[in-house]
């Protein structure tokens, strides 16, 4: 089953200039599923949040890597954003609206909330000191 899905994988350094690049890549990949403008914007925004989190929160030092992976099958896009950074101690707490560990840099703590409201599934796997994976699913062209 799995090998019939179209997929993409890429690795990028955790640098802010790659946020826009990641959005363009996922947008181009998702376009094959013929999403509406709205669905496409939802996907780009959610991926932007996850990639930005990996850039802002995961690595204390420069040189960290972010992996972006996506799988496409009819009416369904799955995306994973992975880092090997500091990890999240308490994922449930981190996903609460307005929870942020970086208020001093004007973070609002709304990233996970945005991901959850724009995607159909959001799953966060994290291990302290080892990294974080955000896996998201968007159903495309399915009437509610």
């Amino acid at each position: 089953m799995e090998q019939h899905k179209n997929f993409m994988q890429m690795e990028i350094p955790a640098r802010s200039e790659n946020e826009g690049f990641a959005r363009v890549v996922i947008g181009a990949f998702a376009s094959r599923l013929d999403p509406t403008m709205e669905e496409l914007a939802d996907i780009k925004t959610a991926v932007s949040e996850a990639v930005t989190n990996a850039i802002v929160h995961a690595y204390a030092n420069p040189g960290g890597i972010i992996a972006l992976e996506a799988w496409a099958e009819p009416h369904r896009l799955e995306v994973a954003v992975r880092d090997c950074g500091r990890g999240i101690d308490n994922v449930t707490q981190a996903m609460e609206p307005f929870y942020t560990t970086s208020p001093e840099t004007e973070r609002s703590g709304m990233g996970f909330t945005v991901m959850q409201s724009f995607m159909d599934e959001v799953e966060v796997h994290s291990q302290s000191g080892h990294g974080t994976t955000v896996r998201m699913v968007k159903r495309i062209g399915c009437e509610e």
Binding site: E19, K44, S48, E49, T52, E106, T113, V114
Partner: protein
């Protein structure tokens, strides 16, 4: 992202944002806005969002941060021409409880 800054009469500072407002450009936008705010000490800061083609939660931080700055100087703030997607994110963050939408 580009910022067009317009000092209108009666202490209104109008700023038009154009392009993608993400974490990458947030620092620059913040700096340009803060310079304009500190220089003109406006009664009202008006952010025109019409040209914003993309925004994520980083934009919330930028807007809230400017709100705090202008408020500490006794001014107020409003956002105008907010595109639907930006509006969705502002609403999610409860922004309109403290910032007027023109």
């Amino acid at each position: 992202m580009t910022t067009q800054i317009h000092y209108a009469p009666k202490g209104v500072l109008r700023v038009r944002l154009e392009g993608e407002l993400d974490h990458h450009c947030a620092f620059q936008v913040r700096r340009e806005l803060d310079e304009a705010i500190d220089w003109s000490a406006p009664a009202v800061l008006e952010l025109d969002m019409a040209g914003v083609t993309f925004m994520d939660s980083s934009g919330i931080g930028v807007v809230l941060g400017r709100y705090k700055r202008i408020k500490s100087q006794g001014g107020s703030m409003r956002v105008v021409n907010v595109p639907p997607r930006v509006d969705q994110i502002f609403s999610m963050a409860g922004l309109y409880a403290i910032i007027a939408r023109g």
